[in-house]
Each structure stands twice: as structure tokens, then as C-alpha cells.
């Protein structure tokens, strides 16, 4: 290698197996400094990384393992990791070398050996690994101990029962009290990984251990900090004061430079707040959480994106967090589109009467941008703002009218779509602008906007002088229109006829449309609706009028708020994929365990009321048994596994039963408290509502991506149909 650094590229040449074999043989003699072997091995490794199969060289390469040179060892181990499982029948050749390396003088070699062994989970290797691992977990060198801790998780993945029988889980638990912070963090990581498995030993923390872990935070690397913080989700506070004390110690981590640490800390704080009582402390925590979230926005666009999606969740549960910071979410024109859209959504959520003017000014600015998608969303947001903040409605409508004047097709279309909702939100207030809308009919060429405009014409046909002319023009292309527009045209034609039953044009029009829908259209929805209208009109036109023009329920923006229970649960996943997609991970990741708030005496009443039990597939109360230190215990109930870390012995264990009974418990609590809905006096504006049977019912409408989240009256289709 010496003298040829920087020329390794030449190793990336396809080599032949025979050549390498010959070269390795040649290298066995007269290779004092092992340079020959090193060169050949390098070529082989280069070939592996190019995807060429080097497995025929197994026996030849393995012979190099005896070479007392770390660099060569590393390459051979890399080779073994790649082909070990393929060549399981020859692995016994390597075991002696493994054992020798596990007892090497150099801690790096010891660690490397057990790490490599844990990567090759074949029975032969696992067999010899278990003994070595036991020594390494007690090694005097922290590097070996921390590597061994992670290896336990691997061993568990390969053979859970063996790992449990071998007492490895207890040994990991002992490592939680290790003097070296990195070792502690890795033990936590390993226990968490085991605990996250569906068949794993459940990993819970008690107050003493939680406190110990927090002490280790000071000296941990950022990854260690993340593992330790994340594991705190496994601690269920029994008293308000415990939750508050832990939270106070976590707050300092909000100043960490690593964005993942910050978001994990926020997740824990949000979790602990469910168990708190001290209102002043909770306000303080909310105040403390805002700035670090804002700081995340000064990082790269990827981090911003993740942060924004999480902020969107957090502000729904704790609106106090960023209440006065709407300005930070103003978009820059060179932000990537995904950042802009996420910011826009948050701006809308944070809009209140006090800042509506600023927000509107920004939205107007965005409406003249270059990016079409973004412009559309901006225009739509103006309408949503009008619906959400009543005092700002006038200004918003004016803004929309100004936009319509630009005559940019997609701007006008979006404006028409939201104005329809505005009409429904403030009946009788803005109908004066209808003529302006009608002037721009010819700009509408997309189904959604066209349907919206047709709805407006039909609904307010009595206020539009030339409604029949307009409708006549619009129905001209009836048979070529998409379904959505045809449905709208049908309903509008009926409405028009009901408003003006004596006009010949309307009569002819409704007749024409009904005839088309019932005779020439294939779509069953349209046809059935046509028949229904026809009969209604035929039987009793007055009643038909009452039904079709019945008063519509007012539109609100409630539909886009998520259910509290679902929100609580999602927030346990703060920062994770679940929070990006706004879905619980067990619904889209196979093998993911769900998370749910666990009931405890300290859980605040409102959270308990909306508690959603975890959707964990409950395995039968397992054969999992963790014998404690000392003489073998008599077979106990399945509670043993859960007590793993509960060193406070007979503390109230009501909720810490087996997973299955816990889930049942939670459901019981959830339903029994339905009878006694009480306001927990939460600071957020969530109105306590009876828990819905399906807490995710509102989820799709609220968060199905960016496009489906405009306010929509529930049951709109049904009402429109009539």
C-alpha cells in the first residue's frame, strides 16, 4: 500500500478467480511484510464491492486469517460477512481463528471478532459466539463491552430462546449501570431493539433506572443520547412529580446540536406532559420547545421538511408552542416545493385574527409566484383563511377577486373552487360577487373548478339573471364532460328549473339533461340520479324543490382537525416515519409495534378519556421466561418478563401485566370513561368530544397528503345530490 495511495482505482478491474487463487498461493512464500497478500485481498474486496461473486475463494481467503495484521484481518472478516452464510458447511474451518481472535491482546481485534461472528448467524457460529460473548460483555475494555452489547441484540434476532436461556438479557441490564456512557447507550439500544420485536422481552424502565440513564446523557455521543432519550418512552410515570422531574432533566437536551436529538427530546417532553399536572411547568415546557423547532428550520431542506411535518402535528396538540411565530414559516421563493407546501399548511394552522393580515399578505405574494402547484395551494389557502378567520374574510374575498382579475387560468380556477366554500360558510354575505365569477366562465377548463362554478350557478340561479343562458352554454358539451361535471350540471339544471319553473328554456334544458343522463350515459351513478330527479319532479315538483334546495349545514374547518386520541398516539412517534406520513407505523410498516400511552395514576384525565389502545397483535402469553440471577425460580406467571427492569418490587403493577391483558385493560378504561366525560382543562383548544369509535376516521380527510386537506363539509356529496 505504501507509495501507492490514491491509486487504488486500479483494483477495480475484473479479476478471475483462478488468478486470485494463484496469487494468494504465491503470496504464501516470500511475503515478509504481507504486502502481496494485502494486494490480492484488496483486489478481491474491490471485486466484492463491484458485485462479482468471489465465494469460490472461500477456503483460500480464510487461510489468511492467521496473519497478524489488522488490515488483513479486516478484509478477511469483510469477506466472511459477505459469504459466510453461503458457505455454512465450511464455517467450522474458521471457528478456531475466531476463538483465538476473541482472546487477542488487542481490544480492536476482540471486538472485531465478536462483531463479525454476530453477523453470521449460522448455528455453528452462534454456538461458539455465546461463550465468547459472555466474556466480552465483562471485558475490561469499554470498546469491547459496547460492541458486545449490540451483538446481544443480533444473537437475540438469530435465536431468541438461546439468548434468553443464556442470561444475556440480564447481562445487558447490568450494563445499564456501566461506568462508561457509550456502553450504557449501546445496552439501551440493544434492549430497545429486543423490546421492539413482536416476540421480544418487554423492556420497561422504572424511575431509578430512568434517572441513572439520564445521568449518562452528559457523556454520551449524540447517538447514545438518542437511544437513551428514546428509551424513556418505556418509562410510565406513576406520579405527576416523577414525570415533571424527568422532564426538567430532559429540557437541557433541547439545546443539542444534533437535530435528531432535539426532536427525540421533544417527543419525550410531549409524552411526559400527558402525565403532568403542574400547569406552569407545562407552559414553560411549551415555551421551551418552540425555539429549537425554529432552529431546525435553519438547517438543510431535508431536515426542514421532517421538522415541518412534525411541527404540523405538534401545534395541533399544543397550539401554545409556536403561537407567535407564524413569520418563521414564510416561504422563500427558492425553497424546494415540499418545504413550501409544508410551510403553507402550517401558516394556515397558525393563522388567527391577530396575524391574519400578515398571513394574507404573504399568501397574496405566493399567488403570483412561478410554481403552479404552489400558486394553487396559496390561492386555496386564501379561501381557507376566509373560512377559518371570520374577521379576515372581507380582505380575503377582495384578494381572491383581485386574483381573478389576473385572468391566469389556474389561479381563477382555484379561486372559484374556494369561493364556493366561502359562499357556504357565510351564506347571504358575498353573493354580490357572482357576476364577476360568471365573466370568467370561459377560463375554467378543469373538472373541479367547472363543477364548482356550475354548483354556484345552480345554487344561486335566482340571483343570476342570465343563469339559463349560462347553463344552456355549459350543457352544450354535456356528453363530452367528465363525470364530476355531468353530475354538477344535472343537479344545477334541476335547481334552475325549480327556481324558474315557468320559463320555457329551463324546461327544455332540464328535459334535455334528464333525457341524456337516463338514455345516453353509461355511468350508473349519473343515470340513477337522473331517474330519481325525474320521478321527484314528476310526482311533486314542490316537494322536490324543498328537498333539492334544502338548507345546507354550515361549513366549518373542524373536519381538518385530527382526533385527540389519534394525535396523542401519533405524537409518540414524533420525528419518525409515522409522523411524516401522519399514519401510525403499524399500519404501513410490517412488524412495527404500535405505541400507545400507557395508563397510570398520573395520566391526565383527558388523555385517558381519548386513550387509543395499541393495535399490537398479541402473541399468546409466551414461553418467554427470564430467569433472574441466583437459583432458578419456580415457574411464575408471564409477569416475569415484564418485570425485567422493575426493581421497585411490588409497586402497583396493575397496568404492567402481560401485553395482552394490558391491551384489554386499556380498552376497558377507554370505554368506561366514556360515561364520565370530564374536561381535563387542557390548555389546548381541543374541545373534549366523545371518543369516536374509529379514531382514524377523520384522519384521511384531514391529512391525506396535501391535496385532500381543504375544508369540506362532511356529507357534501349526499347533500349536493339532493
Amino acid at each position: 500500500m505504501s507509495g501507492q495511495g490514491g491509486q487504488d482505482a486500479k483494483f477495480f478491474q475484473r479479476g478471475k478467480i483462478q488468478e486470485f487463487r494463484a496469487e494468494l498461493e504465491a503470496a504464501e512464500s516470500k511475503d515478509k511484510k504481507f504486502t502481496k497478500r494485502k494486494t490480492v485481498l484488496k483486489k478481491i474486496v474491490a471485486n466484492i464491492t463491484m458485485g462479482n461473486d468471489m465465494s469460490p475463494l472461500f477456503t483460500d481467503v480464510v487461510q489468511c486469517l492467521g496473519t497478524p495484521l489488522l488490515e488483513i484481518k479486516k478484509m478477511v472478516y469483510l469477506f466472511l460477512v459477505c459469504y459466510g452464510r453461503q458457505k455454512a458447511d465450511q464455517l467450522h474451518l474458521v471457528i478456531p481463528s475466531f476463538l483465538q481472535d476473541c482472546n487477542d491482546r488487542n481490544p480492536l481485534v476482540r471486538a472485531l471478532a465478536i462483531r463479525t461472528m454476530s453477523y453470521i448467524p449460522t448455528p455453528v457460529v452462534i454456538e461458539s459466539l455465546t461463550d465468547q460473548l459472555r466474556h466480552c460483555l465483562k471485558d475490561r475494555d469499554p470498546y469491547v463491552r459496547k460492541t458486545a452489547a449490540i451483538c446481544v441484540a443480533k444473537l437475540y434476532a438469530a435465536d431468541p430462546r438461546k439468548a434468553e436461556k443464556g442470561g444475556f438479557v440480564e447481562m445487558l441490564r447490568d450494563l445499564l449501570l456501566d461506568s462508561n456512557a457509550t456502553v450504557v447507550a449501546n445496552a439501551v439500544a440493544a434492549l430497545s431493539e429486543i423490546g421492539d420485536r413482536q416476540d421480544g422481552v418487554i423492556f420497561k424502565l422504572n424511575l431509578t433506572v430512568a434517572n441513572k440513564l439520564l445521568t449518562a446523557l452528559g457523556e454520551s455521543s449524540e447517538w447514545g443520547t438518542i437511544y437513551i432519550l428514546d428509551s424513556l418512552l418505556r418509562y410510565v410515570p406513576e406520579k405527576h412529580s416523577d414525570a415533571e422531574m424527568i422532564a426538567e432533566r430532559v429540557i437541557a437536551q433541547l439545546n443539542h446540536a444534533n437535530s435528531a436529538v432535539v426532536l427525540t427530546a421533544i417527543k419525550i417532553l410531549l409524552y411526559l406532559m400527558n402525565y403532568m399536572e403542574n400547569r406552569r411547568l407545562m407552559e414553560y415546557i411549551c415555551k421551551k420547545m418552540g425555539p429549537p423547532l425554529v432552529t431546525l428550520l435553519s438547517s438543510g431542506p431535508e431536515v426542514q421538511y421532517v421538522a415541518l411535518r412534525n411541527i404540523l402535528l405538534i401545534i395541533q396538540r399544543r397550539p401554545a408552542v409556536l403561537k407567535n411565530d407564524v413569520k418563521v414559516f414564510f416561504c422563500k421563493y427558492n425553497d424546494p416545493i415540499y418545504v413550501k407546501l409544508a410551510k403553507l399548511e402550517i401558516m394556515y394552522r397558525l393563522a388567527r385574527e391577530e396575524n391574519a393580515r400578515e398571513v394574507l399578505a404573504e399568501l397574496q405574494e405566493y399567488a403570483s409566484e412561478v410554481d403552479v402547484d404552489f400558486v394553487r395551494k396559496a390561492v386555496r389557502s386564501i379561501g381557507r383563511l376566509a373560512i377559518k378567520v371570520q374577521p379576515a374574510a372581507d380582505a380575503c374575498i377582495q384578494a381572491l377577486l383581485d386574483l381573478i382579475e389576473t385572468k391566469v387560468s389556474y389561479v381563477v380556477q382555484e379561486a372559484v373552487i374556494v369561493i364556493k366554500d366561502v359562499f357556504r360558510r357565510y351564506p347571504g354575505k358575498y353573493e354580490g360577487i357572482i357576476p364577476t365569477l360568471c365573466e370568467h366562465l370561459d377560463l375554467l377548463d378543469e373538472p373541479e373548478s367547472k363543477a364548482a362554478m356550475i354548483w354556484i350557478i345552480g345554487q344561486f340561479a335566482n340571483r343570476i339573471d342570465n343563469a339559463d343562458e349560462l347553463m344552456d352554454d355549459l350543457t352544450y358539451t354535456f356528453l363530452e364532460e367528465p363525470n364530476e361535471v355531468q353530475l354538477a350540471l344535472l343537479t344545477a339544471a334541476v335547481k334552475l328549473f325549480i327556481y324558474k319553473p315557468h320559463s320555457d328554456t329551463t324546461k327544455a334544458l332540464v328535459h334535455k339533461v334528464l333525457k341524456w343522463t337516463t338514455e345516453e350515459v353509461d355511468n350508473p351513478d349519473l343515470r340513477d340520479r337522473g331517474f330519481m330527479y325525474w320521478r321527484m319532479l314528476a310526482i311533486n315538483p314542490t316537494v322536490a324543490g324543498e328537498i333539492v334546495l334544502a338548507e345546507k349545514p354550515p361549513i366549518t374547518t373542524d373536519a381538518d382537525r385530527m382526533d385527540r386520541g389519534a394525535l396523542d398516539q401519533l405524537l409518540l412517534h414524533t420525528g419518525t416515519l409515522g409522523s411524516i406520513y401522519h399514519k401510525n407505523p403499524e399500519t404501513f410498516i410490517r412488524g412495527a409495534t404500535g405505541k400507545a400511552l400507557t395508563d397510570s395514576p398520573a395520566l391526565n384525565p383527558l388523555s385517558r378519556q381519548v386513550l387509543v389502545p395499541v393495535a399490537r397483535t398479541n402473541l399468546p402469553p409466551t414461553t418467554v421466561k427470564v430467569p433472574g440471577p441466583g437459583p432458578p425460580e419456580p415457574t411464575m406467571s408471564n409477569a416475569t418478563s415484564q418485570d425485567l427492569l422493575d426493581t421497585d418490587s411490588p409497586a402497583p403493577q396493575v397496568q404492567n401485566g402481560a401485553a395482552s391483558s394490558a391491551a384489554v385493560n386499556l380498552m376497558a378504561t377507554g370505554s368506561s370513561s366514556q360515561d364520565t366525560p370530564e374536561d381535563g382543562g387542557e390548555d389546548d383548544d381541543a374541545v373534549p368530544q366523545a371518543p369516536a369509535s374509529d379514531p382514524y376516521a377523520a384522519l384521511d380527510s384531514a391529512f391525506g397528503g396535501y391535496l385532500a386537506d381543504e375544508p369540506r363539509p362532511q356529507n357534501k356529496d349526499l347533500l349536493d345530490m339532493i
Binding site: 495511495g5 477495480f12 489488522l70 481490544p107 425555539p291 432552529t295 415540499y338 404573504e362 405574494e365 403570483s368
Partner: protein, 430 residues
């Protein structure tokens, strides 16, 4: 809580290096690479691809996500299949990229290929096959993966026996502090602080500032012997908000006394980041933008005209490397401009951007640019804002000063140096 691995792609979307993925089917990394390449190919703008791509999996039952970033010419992918914090993936990618820079200086497809063995060793040591980051602090990594340059030097001097290199420090991680190695020695004990502050603002059409914030960071280069314990006091620490710190800083101490108490890593590291909020009588608490731009943009059929006046509001300092940019919209073909006093303009046909470059803007001076552009689009849609970047050397918006640097744990007196630099990135709407 573990990522699946790491893949590095060159600018053509081909894999240069990747971690093991031993517990996954061989097609798994390819699936991610293909999904990303497809997403990039079908996106209107490569920057607009979602940074967390949802990947439905070979069999529909194993969905996963692909977190990716682009740095320089290379793309770094981080597949995740559990319910993992994507920030965790991004934080790891960022750390790994920083390590590559530490090791190779300039990182390109070429350097990575030339040093592939070091890259693979780094992958092995920083990420275990279960996806847990292992050793990522450069101080500790240097003990187990020898940087290419150092390796050559050691080998040529010691005349070999490879184990010699590691036995020189046979106890890696002997240090109880993960970020600092033991036994560091310098002849001159010195520590340098670079305070870099960036003004990030949006200015409305009417010249009022819509948003403005100053983000600061303190880059440190530490060359101190032994295990020094430092206590750093700033003269105006109360104006520093929303601070985030390197893991070495004792957070409780900062919360209590607003002083930085830490045992620094050896070498270069980022000590802290903050947001500067001036304490002033005005309710706005904003730093004002140090220039005025008077734009007049007229868009006509197939083109338009631009008139710009840039005036410095600084009275004593010079602004340097000022760039005023305007994206001219889809279809822009060219521009021709006249600029005043030794400033220059250019049109970048790749990004369709007009750039006006002002090397040095002397205090209170005004500069103008007048010109027109052409476009194939009937109604060109240039972006609604100018982007202005600038630099003010030897200056800090916050006027941050070190009041005191106390050292305990070692008995020497360190030399301390501090340097300020202010940057700006302003969006000016028209």
C-alpha cells in the same frame, strides 16, 4: 431505532459504495437506487423530490423509505424500513459526509474510488450491520481507521509491521470522553474561534422587512494539549437565543449561568449555533438589511427589461462578494445589460438566472444595472424576488466578544483567537 444502511451514488445515479445490507435481500439496495433515480427523472426539478421517498417494496408487504441528500456531485441514500426517525438518518448522513471531508478533503466520485478501502473501513466502523451508528467522532475514528495520508507517512517512516500503527495506541476509546482522545500534545497551545453570522431576510415590495433573523455559528479549531477543561464567557451572551451546542458543552451550566463549560474535541469542530436577537427599544427586534435595492422589472412579450439600483446603507464598512440574482423564468434565452462602476453581470443558461456581481461595495455607494432579457416564452414569468447574497468581513451583527477563557485541568496558558464574519442571504421582492 436503526437505519438499514448507506449508499453513495455518483451524479449518474450509479452506486460508488454501499454498506453491507447483509440482513436484506440483495435487491434491496438496488430497489432504493432505482426508486430514487426514477423519482429524479420524473421530477420537474431535481430539488423537488421528496427527501423521504416512500418505497413500496418488492413484495407489497415490506414497504420502506429512502432518505436522501445531495452534497456536491454525490447523492447519499439512507434506506430505512422500521419506524425510524428520518432526522436520525439525515443526522447520520450529515455526520458521515463530514467524516469523509475530514479524511479526504475534497469529496468526489474520484476520491472515493481511489480510497475505497478507507471508505469501506469507515462504513464498517461508523455503522454496524444492524444499522446502529458506532464511532462517529473524528477524534476516536482516527485511532481505528487511519486516514490515507497519515497511513502512508507512518508506514514509510516505521518501515512497517502494520500492527505497529494500531499498537501505537492500543487502547482506542481509552478516553472516558467519546469526543476527545487522550495523549494529545502541542508545542503551542492555541484555540481559535470563528464566529460566522448569516442574516436571512425577506423584504417586501414596499421595502419593509417581512422576516429577518440572524443565525450564528461558532467554528472552533482547538490545538490544546492534554485534557483541558475550558470556561468561555461571552460579553453579551444574553442576545444569543435558541442555542444548540456540540455534545461537549455542559448544557446545565449554560442554562444556569450562560457560560460555556466544556472539554473540547481535538481539532476542528462546531462549538455552537445560535440565533441573534438584538435587544433594542424597537418592538421589532430585527436586524435591518444593510442595503436598499430599487428594482423595476417590466415583462413584455418574449422578454422584458430590468432596472436595478443597489445602495449600501453601511457608512463605514465595505460589503464584499455581493451577488444579485434573478431567475428569468422558463424559456429565458439571454440578457444584455449595462452595469455601473466595475461591477459585472452574467446570464447562466443552465439555471436561467441573471447574476449581477459586485465585488466590493464601498460605504454609502450606489450602483446600477440596466438591461433587458429575451425569452422563448410568450409571457415570461420571472421569479417574483431577487436573491441577494453578500459578505461583510471582520464584522458581526451581534458584536459578540469573548470576555474570558479560563482553562483548568492543565497548567499552561492557551493563546485564543477570535474572528468574525457576517454573511447575508436576502430575498427582495418586486
Amino acid at each position: 431505532m436503526a437505519i438499514d444502511g448507506l449508499i453513495i451514488l455518483d451524479n449518474a445515479g450509479r452506486a460508488i459504495a454501499q454498506s453491507g445490507f447483509h440482513s436484506f435481500p440483495p435487491a434491496y439496495p438496488l430497489l432504493h437506487i432505482d426508486a430514487l433515480n426514477n423519482a429524479l427523472a420524473s421530477a420537474a426539478h431535481p430539488d423537488d423530490v421528496d427527501p423521504v421517498l416512500y418505497i413500496s417494496g418488492i413484495n407489497m408487504d415490506t414497504p420502506s423509505a429512502c432518505c436522501h441528500v445531495k452534497r456536491g456531485d454525490l447523492r447519499y441514500l439512507c434506506p430505512v424500513s422500521g419506524d425510524v426517525d428520518p432526522l436520525y438518518a439525515f443526522a447520520f448522513l450529515q455526520t458521515f459526509i463530514e467524516i469523509l471531508h475530514e479524511y479526504f478533503g475534497h469529496v468526489s466520485a474520484e476520491t472515493l474510488k481511489q480510497n475505497f478501502d478507507v471508505v469501506y473501513q469507515l462504513l464498517e466502523e461508523t455503522l454496524d450491520s444492524g444499522g446502529h451508528p458506532l464511532t462517529t467522532s473524528p477524534n476516536a475514528l482516527r485511532d481505528i481507521v487511519i486516514p490515507p495520508t497519515l497511513l502512508n507517512k507512518v508506514l514509510s517512516v516505521a518501515g512497517v509491521s502494520g500492527l505497529a500503527t494500531s499498537s501505537a495506541n492500543s487502547h482506542p476509546f481509552a478516553s472516558p470522553i467519546p469526543w476527545r482522545k487522550t495523549g494529545v500534545r502541542y508545542n503551542n497551545n492555541e484555540i481559535f474561534f470563528d464566529v460566522i453570522e448569516t442574516l436571512d431576510a425577506v423584504v417586501n415590495k414596499n421595502g419593509t422587512t417581512a422576516v429577518s433573523s440572524v443565525w450564528g455559528r461558532v467554528e472552533t479549531n482547538c490545538k490544546l494539549s492534554g485534557t483541558p477543561d475550558l470556561l468561555l464567557t461571552f460579553s453579551n451572551a444574553s442576545t444569543l437565543n435558541d442555542c444548540s451546542f456540540h455534545p461537549c458543552v455542559r448544557l446545565q451550566r449554560w442554562a444556569r449561568d450562560k457560560v460555556l463549560s466544556f472539554v473540547p474535541p481535538d481539532g476542528k469542530f462546531k462549538l455552537m449555533e445560535y440565533r441573534y436577537v438584538p435587544i433594542s427599544a424597537s418592538s421589532l427586534n430585527q436586524v435591518s438589511v444593510p442595503f436598499i435595492l430599487r428594482p423595476a422589472v417590466q415583462v413584455d412579450e418574449h422578454g422584458g427589461s430590468i432596472e436595478l439600483t443597489f445602495s449600501s446603507r453601511l457608512t463605514t464598512r465595505t460589503m464584499e462578494n455581493v451577488y444579485v440574482e434573478l431567475y428569468l423564468g422558463e424559456g429565458a434565452t439571454g440578457a444584455s445589460c449595462i452595469t455601473s462602476h466595475s461591477t459585472s453581470w452574467s446570464f447562466n443558461p443552465r439555471t436561467l438566472t441573471l447574476v449581477w456581481e459586485l465585488r466590493a461595495v464601498v460605504p454609502s455607494a450606489s450602483y446600477t444595472l440596466r438591461g433587458s432579457f429575451t425569452s422563448t416564452a410568450g409571457a415570461p414569468r420571472p421569479s417574483r424576488a431577487f436573491r441577494v447574497r453578500f459578505e461583510i468581513p471582520q464584522h458581526n451583527y451581534s458584536a459578540l466578544k469573548i470576555e474570558q477563557l479560563k482553562l483548568t485541568g492543565e497548567n499552561y496558558k492557551p493563546y485564543k483567537g477570535m474572528r468574525g464574519n457576517s454573511l447575508g442571504d436576502i430575498e427582495w421582492r418586486w
